[in-house]
């Protein structure tokens, strides 16, 4: 973003990266719901993580205060994001790093590909990063003849099976261990043909495969969990140690970071390092927290590039109703507690950002082109049960954001849809007591439809109800009629 770049913030470009699926949520969910293995894997995994999270959150006496602190830091950050980013740039530069600004996925991919090419490497190792999946970096690098190897175990599983991640924390949550064994046997070079589905054996196979990559790679690519503007310190929080290998062994480190990941102060980490692990993996503290500030001579990568990615984030920031979606620290607690996510999994959302937070973030990053835009269906992928807000470590009011994004979806209708017209008719009836009573009388005729009190079939769109549920026949008398008959 150059200083002369004025005008409206842009959205993420079409056709680059993975922020939009190819079909509306209900169609994708239809397939997911029928996949019994997926349902079993997801149900088991989310239930386990939910229980772990509930246990470790309950033992923190000031959890609510921590959530409020996290919320306040994020709100402060968004209120002065441009200033903090410039401060971050200055801090990183002062410590020997090089900062790049990418307006969108296309620019970010070009910057990273150029940086890798400049090193002469044709292979890179990657730390788990959702931002680089958002922009389709691996695919863009492949087009330039550069092979990117995912080193997080679950990301490796996803990559080896030509699959897509379905969860922030556990990208292969939709797979069980016997499926993982099959994937390794099929796609992992040099794997032991007698590999079993014992978790330890699977981990050892991945370790042997990855060690070769770690020791030969000259360039690593990471994302970032946090970046402190005052010290220029970037941090990555992980469980497996693969991140630590990538962040310390190669000569060159390239970090791609969404601009919303900046926090004002190094001391803010105190809050987030308490909130994130407990919300995410259900651990008191994650095993590996790596932090680095620019370049340290003789220790770790000697060249460090930080790519600051917008890709629609300024568009989200510009929306008063929607900007709190940028507060997300990608813990995935909202996914794990969401009854919709638990049943459909992440692929049904199309975007790399699934679940409740994805349903409000993806449409804002891409913008909504009209009623047929798959992302227009995402805000409706929720019963508004509110479990996501209760679980969110930074108190993002996701149910309210869902309602606001539903309004945004409707605002994108250029001509009224059938639903728009129906809602308009109902609203017109409901604003007038006379018309409302008349409508009730018409509805009352419906009781003849179910003489036994049970209605087993209704025409569309009522058929969407009676596909699985009986509908009650209207009562012989409305409450209003009863009140009038008995009280006046």
């Amino acid at each position: 973003m150059s200083s002369t770049d004025l005008g409206m913030p842009t959205t993420a470009p079409d056709g680059v990266g993975f922020l939009r699926g190819s079909e509306p949520f209900p169609a994708a969910a239809h397939r997911a719901l029928a996949d019994t293995q997926l349902r079993r894997n997801l149900g088991h995994a989310t239930r386990t993580i939910r229980a772990k999270r509930a246990g470790v959150v309950a033992e923190v006496p000031d959890w609510e205060e921590l959530r409020r602190a996290g919320e306040a830091i994020k709100a402060d950050t968004m209120a002065r994001l441009p200033e903090l980013l410039e401060q971050l740039e200055a801090s990183v530069t002062a410590r020997g790093g090089v900062v790049h600004w990418a307006r969108d996925a296309t620019e970010a991919n070009a910057i990273v590909a150029g940086l890798v090419r400049d090193t002469g490497a044709d292979e890179v190792v990657k730390v788990k990063s959702i931002a680089t999946q958002e922009i389709g970096l691996n695919e863009a690098l492949a087009e330039q003849g550069i092979t990117a190897t995912e080193t997080d175990l679950a990301e490796l599983i996803v990559q080896l099976s030509d699959d897509r991640p379905s969860h922030f924390l556990v990208p292969a949550i939709h797979r069980n261990r016997s499926e993982i064994r099959d994937i390794f046997l099929r796609a992992m070079p040099g794997v032991d043909p007698d590999l079993t589905d014992d978790p330890r054996r699977l981990a050892m196979a991945a370790r042997a495969h990855l060690r070769r990559k770690f020791l030969s790679a000259r360039v690593a690519i990471s994302g970032a969990n946090f970046a402190a503007a005052d010290t220029g310190t970037i941090s990555v929080v992980e469980s497996e140690g693969n991140g630590r290998m990538c962040l310390t062994l190669p000569d060159t480190l390239i970090t791609v970071m969404g601009v919303e990941k900046v926090v004002p102060r190094w001391s803010d980490m105190e809050v987030f390092l308490q909130l994130l692990p407990r919300s995410s993996t259900g651990e008191r503290m994650n095993p590996y927290t790596s932090t680095w500030s620019g370049v340290t001579p003789g220790d770790g990568p000697q060249t460090f590039h930080l790519v600051l990615l917008d890709n629609g984030r300024s568009n989200v920031l510009a929306s008063e109703d929607g900007r709190s979606a940028l507060h997300c620290i990608r813990c995935s607690a909202c996914l794990n507690v969401c009854p919709v996510y638990e049943r459909t999994g992440g692929h049904a959302y199309g975007s790399v950002y699934p679940g409740p937070i994805g349903a409000v973030l993806s449409p804002q990053l891409t913008g909504i082109s009209g009623p047929d835009d798959p992302n227009a269906s995402l805000p409706y992928a929720s019963s508004l049960c509110g479990a996501c807000f209760d679980a969110c470590p930074v108190r993002i009011d996701i149910p309210n954001l869902l309602v606001q994004q539903r309004a945004a979806s409707i605002a994108a209708h250029r001509t009224p849809t059938a639903q728009d017209l129906a809602m308009r008719t109902v609203a017109a009836a409901m604003v007038s007591p006379g018309r409302f009573r008349a409508a009730e009388r018409v509805l009352g005729l419906g009781r003849f439809a179910g003489r036994s009190g049970r209605i087993r079939f209704l025409p569309y769109p009522g058929s969407q109800w009676t596909s699985a549920r009986d509908a009650p026949a209207p009562p012989a008398e409305t409450f209003r009629q009863w009140w009038k008959r008995t009280r006046s």
Partner: protein
């Protein structure tokens, strides 16, 4: 106390039993219930489907009808009260009507869900009810997480004579209703309903109760389709039931199947 009844559009048209029961409880406790006859709908369906502009006149109408109707207002619905309390002012402000937003906030502060009114405002947990059945309670999402009614409904139920309260496994998970979600994402809604029904059946209850007719319509509609032998009854109706009164029978999907007070155990 003079209490205005918010009938809710769904309750008025489809589930009058829960409203009659609400009137009965409050009058039995010595209060005066008024029914402002111009009331229509709180606008929740429009708000939650994203039609915030269309909801504005509905919010204005609701506030006009109830602002001076009584000291407090009550609805036997967690979700309608949730809309009044957490969404009306937002809709008004978004529509640029600050006066309406303030009036909506004032009314919201005096609008209660039934269990809140009974326990917090009127200070009673024993409403003199008698209901000799095995009952499980489903805490509806908006009661639980929008209004934070907590254990108020359970305290009311525990004080009902003859009632055997049984625990609902995974009680706090959504039943899958979600308003227009139930038709816009009917299949996911059904998948959620399947698990809720399984838990209701596991509980061994003959009656599943809740504070929202809408969620009960969903759960009860599924239980009826499966001929499960478990029925759904609104909390108000249980609390209105007495030894000499008529037994509660709210959401009846088949009168020939569900006999009065003769639920079949699964």
């Amino acid at each position: 106390m003079r209490i205005a009844l918010v009938a809710t559009c769904l309750g008025d048209a489809m589930f009058p039993q829960a409203l009659k029961a609400t009137v009965e409880i409050l009058e039995r406790l010595g209060h005066e219930v008024v029914f402002p006859s111009d009331q229509t709908c709180c606008g929740q369906m429009h708000v939650n489907t994203g039609y915030l502009d269309m909801a504005l006149p509905l919010v204005r109408h609701h506030v006009e009808v109830f602002a001076d109707a009584a000291e407090v207002a009550v609805a036997p619905s967690g979700s309608c009260v949730g809309c009044v309390r957490h969404q009306h002012a937002m809709v008004a402000r978004r529509g640029g009507d600050e006066d309406l937003a303030r009036a909506a906030e004032d009314l919201a502060g005096r609008t209660y869900e039934l269990s809140e009114l009974l326990v917090d405002v009127l200070g009673v947990t024993d409403v003199g009810a008698y209901y000799p059945h095995r009952v499980t309670y489903h805490p509806t999402c908006h009661s639980l997480r929008m209004l934070r009614v907590g254990d108020k409904p359970l305290r009311l139920l525990r004080a009902v004579r003859g009632l055997h309260l049984v625990e609902l496994p995974d009680a706090e998970v959504c039943c899958g209703f979600g308003g227009t979600f139930a038709v816009k994402n009917a299949e996911v809604s059904t998948a959620m309903l399947a698990d809720k029904m399984a838990n209701v059946l596991t509980s061994g209850a003959e009656v599943c109760t809740a504070g929202d007719s809408s969620c009960l319509m969903h759960i009860g509609g599924g239980l009826s389709r499966l001929r499960s032998g478990v029925r759904t009854v609104h909390l108000a109706e249980i609390l209105a039931s007495t030894e000499d009164g008529t037994p509660a029978r709210d959401i009846v999907f088949d009168t020939t199947e569900v006999g009065e007070g003769k639920g079949v155990h699964p």
